[in-house]
Amino acid sequence: MSRQFNMAGLQLSRINRRDQYGYSILAVALVAATCYSLSTILPYRVTALILLVTVSLIAMFFDIAPVMLAAVLSALVWDYFFIPPHFTLSIRDSEDALMLLMYFLVATVNAVLTYKIRLVEKNAMREEGRANTITLYNTLLNSLSHELRTPISAIIGASDNLSEPQKLTEKNKADLVGEISKASFRLNQQVENLLNMSRLESGVIHPHLNWCDISELIYSAVNKLEPELKLHTVRVNVPEKFPLFKLDFGLMERAIFNLVNNSAVYTPAGANITISARQGREVGPDSVIQAVVNELILAVEDNGPGFPKDEVNRVFEKFYRLQNSRTGGTGLGLSIVKGFVEAHHGSIHLENLPGGGAKFTLTIPAEISHPNQLENE
């Protein structure tokens, strides 16, 4: 609660200093004018309380200097317009003089205390942010040290063995060379993921939109995964005469690659993976399709075990790995997909299928070109 409130305070304090002075003066002037017009029914000492509340409210949102200005200004205004005799700063009654002094003190103390509380809260939030970062950092370090050190160990071990070839059979040698190759590719894959993640984090990803043949896009990603998909059946469904979409080929290829790779890794041998594309449709209130929209809908589904129900919403989080996940993977693949899709102003959705298996759906707004007009030139 207090944090929510503080957020509002922080947001208002983003109004620049000069404007804050303006708003302070305006608030005091408005309140004073209102009280003045009601001065026949409002005792002038009650007006002091109303002005005090005004200063307190200002203190909740603004920096200390504009608040002090409001305190001083309201004291002067009260003295000049409300304390008899009116329209002069002189005070007849000694009780009123004491009242004015106290008014000024309370307003000032109020301002300073509120300011201090806000400062402490700000620090606490910074502290909390830092703690979150440290937790994230530790998770990253754990999965990274595993993901990077395993293949590095394999490479060092294999090359150590190969440096004494007289002890090895020809088959051993060939196996060790194979291990080095495999480990290097795994290492490269992880580095690729980390680079993509840091590109996303630093916000330097700007999609280069170009006309894409969706079939070519999907197959380009799938063909790169041929070794990983040896034990799976892959189906690609792209409608006949499907239009071209304006997308970043490289980013979308990587997104599809990561999704299909994810399915390949987390489904048992023999599982089916289906990738389908269609154009978005607007559906009317009576679920009658009204019109096609400039939107690509890509789905990657498998008939594997699906995702645990309570983890479906967390899989796109950075470094998130399923509770009972097998080893391998840094938990970056799916968050990269999400990042690349969002770079296209699109969205990603994961659901478990009723018959078992998982389905990822990407919805990406994109310009469309119908190729029919271009053919046979």
């Binding site: 006309w211 079939s215 070519e216 190729p371 053919e375």
Partner: protein, 228 residues
């Protein structure tokens, strides 16, 4: 058999060592430079048949080195770089690089690119036929055969295929292909290229979805290979 001389400009000792072993064991003669300055001097004093250039050199940006080289050096330059973003690749290709290979690379791939670059730098015989596995492209009769059966191609399809095939092994950028086949006014009309590549693949590939001849280079362009 190959006695071509290759100059390697790369600041990493490990990469130079690896390239040296790979190239020498395949019959090439190798010269090395660790900096842009050294590389430019070596290239000028003793022009090699091919230059392998790293983009991340300590003393000068590789793209600038490439432009300096291209002022007088007309033999193949192959870029070998860790920079994998499309902009850098396209920029290097536009500035006259013959090919671009991203580190880490497979040595087999590197050797294939070198062979292809050296072959393309020979004058093209327009009277000859290009044999590419199950494909035969006769440049004088303009007849394309797949498994000895003639393939009907439209004029644009033929222009695209023959341009790709004449540059066998080399990546051609989208812009280059659009300018050469459709004309300078079409360099942003990449939808033409997408549609015609798809049509062409249906006609000449055994499986259009697993192309073996016209390969997609994501975000950069297309590359024709005889067999893969």
């Amino acid at each position: 058999m190959n006695s071509a001389e290759v100059l390697i400009i790369d600041d990493e000792v490990q990469i130079r060592k690896l390239l040296e072993i790979t190239l020498e064991s395949n019959g090439y003669r190798v010269n090395e430079a660790a900096t842009a300055k050294e590389g430019l001097i070596l290239a000028a004093n003793h022009p090699p048949d091919l230059i392998i250039l790293d983009l991340g050199l300590p003393d000068e940006n590789g793209q600038e080195v490439l432009q300096k080289l291209r002022q007088w050096y007309d033999k193949p330059v192959l870029i070998l770089s860790v920079q994998s973003d499309e902009e850098n690749i396209i920029r290097a290709l536009d500035h006259g690089a013959n090919d671009y290979l991203i580190k880490p690379f497979r040595t087999g791939e590197l050797l294939a690119r070198i062979r292809s670059a050296l072959r393309i730098s020979l004058p093209v015989d327009t009277e000859s036929a290009i044999e590419a596995g199950d494909l035969e492209i006769n440049l004088s009769t303009r007849v394309v055969r797949k498994n000895d059966v003639p393939v009907k191609l439209t004029a644009t399809e033929y222009a695209l295929l023959s341009l790709l095939a004449k540059n066998e092994g080399k990546v051609l950028t989208h812009q280059f292909l659009l300018r050469q086949v459709w004309g300078p006014g079409y360099i942003t009309q990449s939808q033409y290229l997408r549609v015609f590549v798809a049509q062409l693949r249906k006609k000449i590939e055994a499986d259009a979805n697993k192309p073996r001849h016209i390969l997609t280079e994501s975000g950069v362009g297309y590359r024709f290979v005889s067999e893969s």
